[in-house]
């Protein structure tokens, strides 16, 4: 009854999507019955920013996108833990790019919400949490944190393209990208802009209840449609231990089998489960690293096991030490400085 299809059923497997800038022009389009319609109904050629993005991103070794169809499941929190964990090694350079234009949480989580972006001859400088951890977010560009960014897609896409071509990221081992919920402009754009340079893949974050899982299923479908590799699935807020009686309860009960079942059904790897811990929310609100503050907590251990997994590091040569050791290192430094 409706043409709901970005990828029509008669299109070949590698269809770039009828709304893509490559619609009708990609390799896959050769011989597709829709080629003519697609080629003529998308007037834009390839984005002129693409060569500049390619040039700038050449010096980034690994690109990881944190995704979820659902909001509030802990994407930004997970992105931040990845950043902190990577940056715990002085030799590793990490960049965090926040493409949640309407709801940027990253500046707050890193405790740098009052910072501004500076521009130099080489482009916009990221805001540095520490020497080897640079962050870019629309949050640094607003006159007031109260301002709503009331932008439609093209403007959001324009800013994302600028984040990639105009930010002086320098040489990075990791670029971690935090996204808004959904499968729309931001997601399509980031994949389109980075596809050529290669994306290591996406980490999908979910919570255990079906209302979240059903959106993550859609996100998996999206990843497959656009050819974005999935590094794995993280189940967040999985169980809660009462600080009073130490009994564990399920807040977001996995009524349909949780991430475990979803992982099995879809063949995506379950990287791990992170429990609900109120201190995670507090650390985020105060802009301090949860991993540093509570290194021995079950949630920290869970986060680090996930980050340490082969899939996330992706055979990286940059990290030779397991991350759990880093945390012990951090703790050591903290204890030492007291």
């Amino acid at each position: 009854m409706l043409d709901l299809d970005l990828f029509p059923s008669n299109a070949p497997d590698h269809c770039p999507g009828t709304e893509s800038e490559l619609a009708g022009k990609a390799d896959a389009c050769q011989g597709c019955p829709n080629q003519q319609t697609c080629a003529t109904s998308t007037p834009k050629g390839p984005d002129p920013a693409l060569p500049f993005i390619r040039e700038r991103i050449r010096s980034v070794k690994h690109k990881i996108i944190v995704l979820s169809g659902k909001g509030g499941v802990g994407k930004s929190t997970f992105t931040a833990q990845l950043g902190w964990a990577f940056a715990a090694d002085d030799h590793v350079q990490t960049g965090i790019m926040d493409v949640d234009i309407c709801g940027p949480s990253i500046p707050t989580i890193f405790g740098i919400a009052s910072e501004q972006v500076h521009s130099s001859s080489t482009g916009w400088s990221p805001v540095y949490v520490q020497d080897n951890l640079g962050v870019m977010s629309v949050g640094f560009m607003l006159p007031s944190s109260r301002d709503a960014v009331m932008w439609r897609g093209p403007k959001k896409n324009g800013l994302i393209s600028q984040f990639l071509k105009d930010v002086d990221w320098g040489d990075l081992d990791y670029l971690v990208i935090d996204t808004p919920p959904g499968t729309s402009d931001e997601h399509l754009s980031i994949v389109q802009y980075l596809k050529e340079s290669g994306i290591d893949g996406a980490v999908l974050v979910t919570t255990p209840q079906e209302v979240a899982l059903q959106d993550v299923r859609k996100e998996i479908d999206f990843c497959r449609k656009v050819g974005l590799p999935i590094l794995g699935l993280v189940e967040n807020m999985s169980g809660f231990v009462c600080p009073g009686c130490k009994t564990e309860s399920q807040i977001f009960k996995p009524s349909t089998g949780g991430a475990e079942r979803l992982a099995k059904e879809t063949g995506v790897e379950l990287l791990g489960k992170v429990p609900l811990d109120p201190r995670i929310g507090k650390s985020a609100d105060y802009g301090v690293s949860f991993l540093d503050e509570y290194p021995d907590s079950p949630a920290s251990i869970a986060y680090l096991n996930i980050i340490d997994s082969e899939s996330v590091l992706h055979g990286s040569g940059a990290l030779t030490m397991p991350l759990l050791t880093f945390v012990t290192g951090i703790k050591y430094i903290l204890d030492d400085s007291r």
Partner: protein, 302 residues
């Protein structure tokens, strides 16, 4: 009065439109929309209610109302919404519309950029055969972007019927986005009925200790600071999660009858949760707020 559009013509038979929003995702917009619909449905005045889900890439309403697997039918007078209380007699009065009802497979993603979302929202507003409604509740996605701008644009001719409820959770990170959402409502001159603080504290079922799972009071303080009506605090309710989650026909795709009996269940089962009791006063404040807003705009001659 603004000139007539297909949308204003269609919405003539709708008395009040309540937009549920929040800057942040996962704070409970859809569950509040659902609870508001169920609570209004239970009022003795037996109002007629519609719920329109414009979260196009992450629709939750079908699942939450136990209507997964239902489809929308076309009639000579537009799309027929799905009725959550269809079995309750001959006069169902809880109508739902969502992109979830239009998908071939529920795991299909809807990968749309702005213009297509805009077209879908326009179609939802102009083509759904709601009939007479006392309240049309609109559940929105997070953010302040295409869906929101399109919605407000298309609803401009019926602006005097509009009001909003803002939902937040108590964390600073959620409040930050709630303030952005409030700035949005001010920019588009959308009257705000008030603020709900959701997932505010958790009572351990084992020892009764109250944990500040996501801290508490943040929403209440924001309401005070911003001069908003505080509609209420809703604690974490695990029963509610399961209800809104498992509210599914046990045999998806089975005979319609089985589905309907299940849906009826939800209305009843909801009334038994602790959230339902708390939500009653939220719904009362919403109803009172609407009367107040409309009086105000009548006085102002809008």
């Amino acid at each position: 009065m603004s000139e007539e559009t297909p949308i204003s013509r269609r919405l003539k038979s709708v008395r009040h439109i309540i937009i549920v929003c929040s800057g942040k995702g996962g704070v409970g917009k859809s569950s509040v929309s659902t609870q508001l619909a169920l609570s209004l449905h239970a009022l003795s005045s037996r109002p007629r209610i519609g719920i329109l889900d414009i979260d196009l890439t992450g629709p939750s309403i079908p699942r939450m109302l136990g209507l997964d697997g239902h489809g929308v039918h076309q009639s000579s007078d537009g799309w027929v919404p799905v009725y959550a209380d269809a079995q309750q007699g001959s006069d169902p009065r809880l109508a739902c519309m969502s992109v979830g009802f239009l998908l071939k497979k529920k795991s299909d993603s809807v990968v749309w950029r702005g213009p297509k979302k805009n077209a879908m929202i326009r179609q939802f507003l102009s083509d759904v055969r709601w009939g007479e409604l006392d309240y049309l509740i609109i559940d929105t996605p997070p953010g302040t972007s295409d869906e929101h701008l399109s919605l407000l644009e298309h609803l401009a001719p019926v602006h005097s019927k509009l009001s909003a409820v803002i939902v937040t959770t108590p964390q600073a990170i959620a409040l930050l986005d709630a303030i952005k959402c409030l700035s949005f409502t001010r920019a588009v001159k959308l009257p705000v009925l008030g603020l709900i603080e959701n997932m505010s504290g958790y009572v351990c079922p084992c020892c009764g200790e109250i944990s500040n799972m996501f801290s508490t009071k943040g929403g209440e303080e924001m309401a005070r600071r911003e001069g908003l009506t505080f509609l209420g605090a809703l604690p974490v309710d695990t029963e509610l999660v399961t209800l809104l989650d498992a509210a599914e026909p046990s045999s998806a795709g089975g005979p319609d009858e089985a589905i309907d009996i299940k849906a009826f269940d939800i209305l009843k089962r909801y009334q038994e949760t602790s959230s339902a009791k708390l939500f009653r006063s939220v719904a009362d404040r919403v109803v009172a707020g609407i009367a107040h807003v409309e009086q105000g705009s009548a006085v102002a001659g809008v």
